[in-house]
């Protein structure tokens, strides 16, 4: 088993975080969440429905004993809206976690770094464990760490595209420089990609479309759990270094043999 994930003062049993949208029905979503072994799920405030039980995602998730809820602000166009949504979500859910999402373009859903930074500044002061969904920008990630975010959640590829770790080179820099958990959020399609993200040194991954749009969502959730676990164990075990060429049998520095080191 790999080591446990800590976010702020919270310990989580799994390094897989699950999204809860896009499923064919709530029962499949709940079973997929359970199959994933996750301890943290995100749910959009706009899918809280206190008036119609069968349409509500919040109610059934809040009844799960093994997971904590992380409301998200999907739908917010700017910092002000995100702050309002965050405060309302906390009032309803009581969760300390907040997935800060500000993607003003509803088509590509890419995060607005300017509004996200502004909202994070306010929400950290409000006492949230702020987990911002961001472009894979190493400078932005450090700026968010500096103001007290609990983690950063850079994207692998645009939401829903399943294009994998297209931002890999930037992720390497973010991971190297970060003192808070780095969670790859969005763009993953396969458990192999989740494993690859973990092998890079990510602290966790968040998956939604890849599970919800799979032929058998529950099985895919379990497969992702295994991918994440394998990748993390591999990272903790220390991967063998890669090499561009074979090691020469007559090393160039052989003349140093026997001399003072």
């Amino acid at each position: 088993m790999s080591t446990e994930l800590r976010i702020g003062d919270q310990c989580l049993p799994s390094r897989l975080i699950m999204g809860t949208g896009k499923f064919a029905d709530t029962a499949t979503m709940i079973r997929s969440v359970e199959a994933s072994g996750t301890g943290l799920v995100t749910v959009a405030l706009r899918r809280f429905n206190r008036e119609l039980v069968e349409d509500d995602l919040y109610g059934p998730l809040s009844e799960l004993k093994t997971v904590q809820l992380m409301p998200n602000t999907s739908g917010a166009m700017d910092a002000k809206e995100a702050v309002r949504a965050a405060l309302l979500s906390r009032e309803i859910s009581g969760s300390p976690f907040l997935k800060l999402e500000i993607h003003p373009n509803p088509h590509h859903l890419l995060p607005d770094p300017i509004e996200t930074y502004e909202a994070a500044r306010i929400l950290v002061k409000e006492g949230f464990l702020v987990m911002p969904y961001v472009p894979a920008d190493p400078v932005l990630c450090k700026r968010l760490e500096d103001i007290g975010c609990a983690s950063v959640m850079p994207l692998g590829a645009p939401i829903g595209t399943g294009k994998g770790l297209t931002t890999q080179e930037m992720l390497r820099i973010i991971i190297r420089d970060s003192s808070i958990p780095v969670i790859v959020d969005a763009g993953l399609r396969s458990p192999a990609e989740a494993a690859a993200a973990m092998e890079l040194g990510c602290d966790a991954v968040l998956v939604n479309s890849a599970v919800a749009a799979a032929e058998a969502p529950e099985r895919m959730a379990e497969a992702f759990a295994m991918g994440v676990e394998a990748g993390r164990m591999a990272w903790e075990a220390g991967l063998m270094p890669t090499s561009e060429a074979a090691i020469a049998s007559s090393p160039l520095t052989s003349f140093l043999a026997g001399r003072n080191e």
């Binding site: 949208g21 896009k22 499923f23 064919a24 029905d25 709530t26 405030l45 706009r46 899918r47 809280f48 429905n49 008036e51 119609l52 069968e54 349409d55 739908g75 917010a76 166009m77 002000k80 809206e81 309002r84 949504a85 309302l88 003003p104 373009n105 509803p106 088509h107 590509h108 829903g160 595209t161 399943g162 479309s209 919800a212 749009a213």
Partner: protein
């Protein structure tokens, strides 16, 4: 009379491309990594008609990727059928003998409660062209009433200037639906015989005025059956991409209204077959994978069920196209704007969606993201 068209709107070269297209070109367009206008023209062409199944396969994968296995629901409420327009194809045109009715504010409340009881959380309020009976001040009060019950209130009403759109946003309105009917200016002039709707450019630019005023979602469409569908579908594609470029925060959706028989006995100018309609929807999904595509109860149950989750991800439910009608028993004498084909109840429709492995989504928005909430704080 020729209406000067804006730079972004010129379907003619692509119509020619569509007419020249071969089945091989269609297969190629379907394989394109990032299909755009060129591929769209080929995919809606007669040459691609043989590719329908392959198009459906690609479309379904894209719909599932971007919208999941969900269908968002909305319900229309006709507030008034008073109209100053002279549309040849509409049962509410001002020369029609249809009995006129406007909901009182009490009736609007009752109707909202009845729709809310269906579970649907997105309401679309409709009027005709501007009249003294249904003007901006009437509409503002209706929006405010609806906004007390629904997280998402949208309108399909007469075009208006930016400041009036801003007043609607402030009243709690989030989305605007406005169909150009036909993008062909000459045909447009023939079909719209009098009234403010004769102003083609004012209608064409209205979505942009609404977006400038703070609307979040814009629904556009062309009424299929009026003119050359290739012209209108290519123009509609150009309109959608133009709006996305000019207003990068805007949510743009596309609807596919197809003309239905109505009271005035209007005969469609062209017949758009089920196969063609499906081909158009699939082409939009393939070329604009993140744009919500809408199919209303104008279409029969079988077609709606077939397209749900394949290309379409948003649908109206339990629609009545008479004024009011949700809170009382069906009034056979009331005049409909058009005939509803899919008359299933919310429950029956949702059951069918679920049987197809799709989740009906009743609430997909929150009033916390509304301008009136912004003002209150």
């Amino acid at each position: 009379m020729t209406v000067p068209q804006p730079d972004w709107l010129d379907p003619t070269p692509w119509i020619a491309a569509a007419q020249r297209a071969t089945p091989e070109a269609a297969a190629g367009a379907l394989r394109a990594t990032t299909p755009a206008e060129r591929e769209f023209a080929v995919l809606i062409s007669p040459a691609a008609a043989g590719q329908l199944e392959a198009m459906a396969q690609r479309a379904q994968a894209l719909t599932r990727r971007h919208f999941g296995r969900t269908i968002s629901l909305y319900t229309p409420l006709y507030l008034s059928n008073y109209c100053s327009g002279g549309c040849t194809y509409c049962g509410f045109a001002s020369d029609r003998k249809a009995p006129r009715k406007r909901l009182s504010f009490e009736e609007v409340e009752t109707e909202c409660r009845a729709i809310k009881a269906l579970g649907v959380d997105e309401i679309l309020l409709l009027t005709g062209e501007r009249t003294p009976e249904a003007d901006l001040s009437y509409l503002l009060r209706c929006v405010k009433i609806a906004a007390r019950s629904f997280h998402k209130v949208t309108v399909e009403v007469f075009p208006m200037p930016t400041d009036e759109y801003r007043a609607l946003v402030d009243a709690g309105c989030t989305g605007l639906t406005l169909y150009q009917e036909t993008y062909d200016p000459e045909l447009y002039a023939k079909l719209h015989r009098w009234g403010p709707k004769q102003d083609y450019p004012a209608r064409l630019d209205a979505p942009e005025r609404a977006l400038s005023a703070g609307f979040r979602f814009i629904g556009i469409g062309a009424l299929l059956g009026l003119g050359d569908p290739l012209y209108d579908m290519i123009a509609l594609y150009q309109h959608a991409t133009h709006l996305q470029r000019r207003h990068w925060r805007a949510g743009v959706s596309v609807s596919f209204p197809r003309i239905q028989p109505e009271v005035g006995g209007f005969k469609p100018g062209v017949v758009v077959t089920d196969h063609q309609l499906v081909q158009f929807i699939l082409a939009f999904r393939i070329c604009l994978p993140t744009v919500p595509l809408v199919l209303s109860t104008r279409e029969p149950a079988k077609l709606r069920d077939g397209m749900a989750g394949i290309g379409v991800n948003k649908m109206s439910v339990a629609s009545k196209t008479t004024v009011g009608g949700y809170s009382e028993d069906d009034d056979a004498s009331a005049t409909e704007q058009f005939e509803v084909s899919d008359t299933r109840s919310t429950e029956a429709f949702c059951q069918s969606l679920r049987a197809h492995g799709l989740e009906p989504v009743f609430k997909n928005w929150d009033s916390v993201y509304r301008a009136e909430t912004r003002d209150a704080q």
